[in-house]
Symmetry: C2
Subunit: 252 residues, 2 copies
Amino acid sequence: MSLHRREFLSGSILAGSAGLAYLAGTPVTTRGEEQHTDLIRPGSVILFQGDSITDTGRSRETADTPNQRSTLGSGYAWLAASQLLVDRPDANLKIYNRGISGNKVPDLAKRWDVDCLNLKPDVLSILIGVNDYWHRRNGRYDGTLDSYETGYRELLQRTLEKLPSVKLVLCEPFALNTGKVDDSWFPELDGYRAVAKKMSEEFRTVFVPFQQAFDRAVAYAEPAEWAADGVHPSPSGAALMAHEWQKQVQGK
Amino acid sequence: MSLHRREFLSGSILAGSAGLAYLAGTPVTTRGEEQHTDLIRPGSVILFQGDSITDTGRSRETADTPNQRSTLGSGYAWLAASQLLVDRPDANLKIYNRGISGNKVPDLAKRWDVDCLNLKPDVLSILIGVNDYWHRRNGRYDGTLDSYETGYRELLQRTLEKLPSVKLVLCEPFALNTGKVDDSWFPELDGYRAVAKKMSEEFRTVFVPFQQAFDRAVAYAEPAEWAADGVHPSPSGAALMAHEWQKQVQGK
């Protein structure tokens, strides 16, 4: 059962006013006892936003041409997109990637009009947070966990003011204990994961629990097989992420 | 709607006696108007069989240790397996890969006792056929399309005699028109695809239409992005295959 469903069933989570507006614009159909949460509709514009894990070498030149490998990079966004497009060849989906390496929440905020709101996405997937922690840790950034939360909430409120019916997918920041990542990252990074989940609950979005997936995945392959430096996924890691994203977004 | 469902709904396909035995041992639940075809159960032993596309550099030393990256290789079998294992951490699945590079149907037959029947799989996935065509084409093999069909049918009959309740997943052989593959491969290769589908219908198995997926996928990336030599999938190609496999096997 996805988080989305749990929230609906428990009804115990308070949503901010923006969150309620989002909820009101998102009919959830009931199929037997299950909540069906497939967010994709014919004609949907789908936007992936984030940092290097989303960027994955995408071409800036073709950024306005949807659905192409060059536009979408080589990571989870490309894999999830290509699978959606192959699954639904007649759905006229338009899928974009505007992730930029090194980005933190304030970097998204600076380019949000051009790289999100103007594209008018129907489905907006965001994966942000590991640099908000990492760059602070290595002294390149003075933001805090509190500013991550405040900035993330402002970004989502601003999004819903302009795009009140957008369907949001918030992805969990994650790291694997290998490469550039060691024990000292935890539990500090967990705070950023918790904020992403809190935002998902406040705004009643779909949530993609990447850290949980990787925590399970290391039973079957070394952490470095999933992400050599602990942060940037390998092809296997990207495929696992695409699978998790599909499960949550398509409500399966 | 999967082929499996179409067959059930049409009821127009004659099954051989082995196929009927298989059908009898495979209850199909009905959920509303949908046929639910999830083949995986708690405790299932799942075996991937095939050629190099399945093998993908798996370790022979760890072949008897299920669920590990080394055992499962680096291709679609590994990706599908790792996703299943992460999805169902408490299901006690045991997943093996016994694909061997260069194999054709008669090669599978020679090692079938050791590399299939003795493992007593609950779910058996087979991808075989491209070498049955390719090696004949380049003069290394004198088998024909007819011997592919006859040999494949015998292999499946033999499997069901020993393992009457095994759930079969037959995968479509495929090629992309790039690298070592050119126009002259088609429509000859289509005959092998048609036989694999015919076997799936005769034995009423799940069918994974890989060629159809790649035929759609080339709208979004060059054929070489999916398989540089036209035969062996790239990481993106393997991820797409794992996705297609999951869709058909989990009935989604």
